[in-house]
Assembly symmetry: C2
Homo-oligomer: 234 residues x 2
Amino acid sequence: MTIGGEHPARGLRARVRTEMVEEIKATARRHLAAEGANLSLRAVARDLGMVSSAVYRYFPSRDALLTALVADAHDALGQAVERAEAAVPRRDLRGRWLASCHAVRAWALDHPAEYALIYGSPVPGYAAPVDMVGPAGRIPAVLASILRDAVAAGVVRTAGERLPKTLRADLRRMGADPRFADLPEPVLARGMTGWIQLLGAVSFEVFGRLEALIEDAGAFFDQQLRTMAAQLGL
Amino acid sequence: MTIGGEHPARGLRARVRTEMVEEIKATARRHLAAEGANLSLRAVARDLGMVSSAVYRYFPSRDALLTALVADAHDALGQAVERAEAAVPRRDLRGRWLASCHAVRAWALDHPAEYALIYGSPVPGYAAPVDMVGPAGRIPAVLASILRDAVAAGVVRTAGERLPKTLRADLRRMGADPRFADLPEPVLARGMTGWIQLLGAVSFEVFGRLEALIEDAGAFFDQQLRTMAAQLGL
DNA sequence: CCGAGTCGAGAGCAGTGCTCTCGTTGTAGG
DNA sequence: CCTACAACGAGAGCACTGCTCTCGACTCGG
């Protein structure tokens, strides 16, 4: 996307470098979609007419390439959700929630390999770098903002719900994060449950476990969203 | 487990063969737990004092070994859930549901690698053999039996719930399976949602995505189960 | 214009899944 | 009891992987 970077003409070499990085990532994404999780750096290099060692000029290791793809995927999915949610009138709280969920599902179905990369079973070798929790939290942040508006509008009821003490402590700790602040604990708990439920439903479908069971997966997803929204009070 | 098999003494060679198969699978399971998903057949062989080609006398390929492990995992998890559910008085419907869910979570936390093997992102290469849907359906069968008893006891209400036509068709098709038969369509739909929700919650925790967010994951899981049970009417 | 840094190619190392061959050994049939 | 056969383990070897190192060619800033 950002080809020029900050300096519009900061040297030919630097420019073709960022182009090369982007080209490698694009090819890797294609291979990922075709072959599955076991990405072969050599095959990517071959596809680009390079020799494998040349790729190491751009990525220090295969894991680094994967990490870059993970970051990009988080970015793309987060952006898709934010856009979809922003397109709904602010006062239509239920619509905003549904649009966010639909955006997640649509993106995941469009990019199953990349979805598996970020929300599938974690790859053994590499632990997600810490600077990954930021991008990963963009969607929860969107969902939280919807719930915050719902609370402010007095839509969701929070009266008379009792939570165990340790859970309340955890929720209070989460509330320290500004993205999740100003949410009553029961609402935050229900929101997390909804988020997990959403990922569960999308993963179930994307990973093909709905295959010979449900034909109209979209209708089933909508049904799940209905019960979820009811649970949330939206 | 079954050392002798059908013939108590059907030859020394046959007996050490089944023992060898079991030993290979056990070692592979250990490696899987230690290293993660990328199981090395050569490393397993080395661990057993064999050369890699010798393993091919017992498993035609690495994928075959993995498939065997998947089958065993389905078996173990299914058995754990069936046992836990059977230990609850039949009339305690809510208790039976909760016990089943807790059994899934406990087994998954005890065997994270094997859980990832059966419920994580699917491995690219091999498609699950068709004879795998049987073992995989044991837990849904248990859950369905609970719901069936609940319907028979008049606990869950099904009045006035409208589902889209295509979804109803899918549910009707599922009802042809005796394991899911005799369930009103809305109940079956809610049951599937519950099952997906359960896997979502367990996967979220097992795959470490709850890490720096929730400390008392057990309490959070229980909370999720409460809302799930309420949704189901149990 | 020239030294310094960047780049791609190639060779090479250790590891992988898998195949094939070759002696050895247990076993079943005569 | 003996023999022919099947099963077995070891070893070599093939094609592939991630990754390192070296070596020329190139670009670019001072």
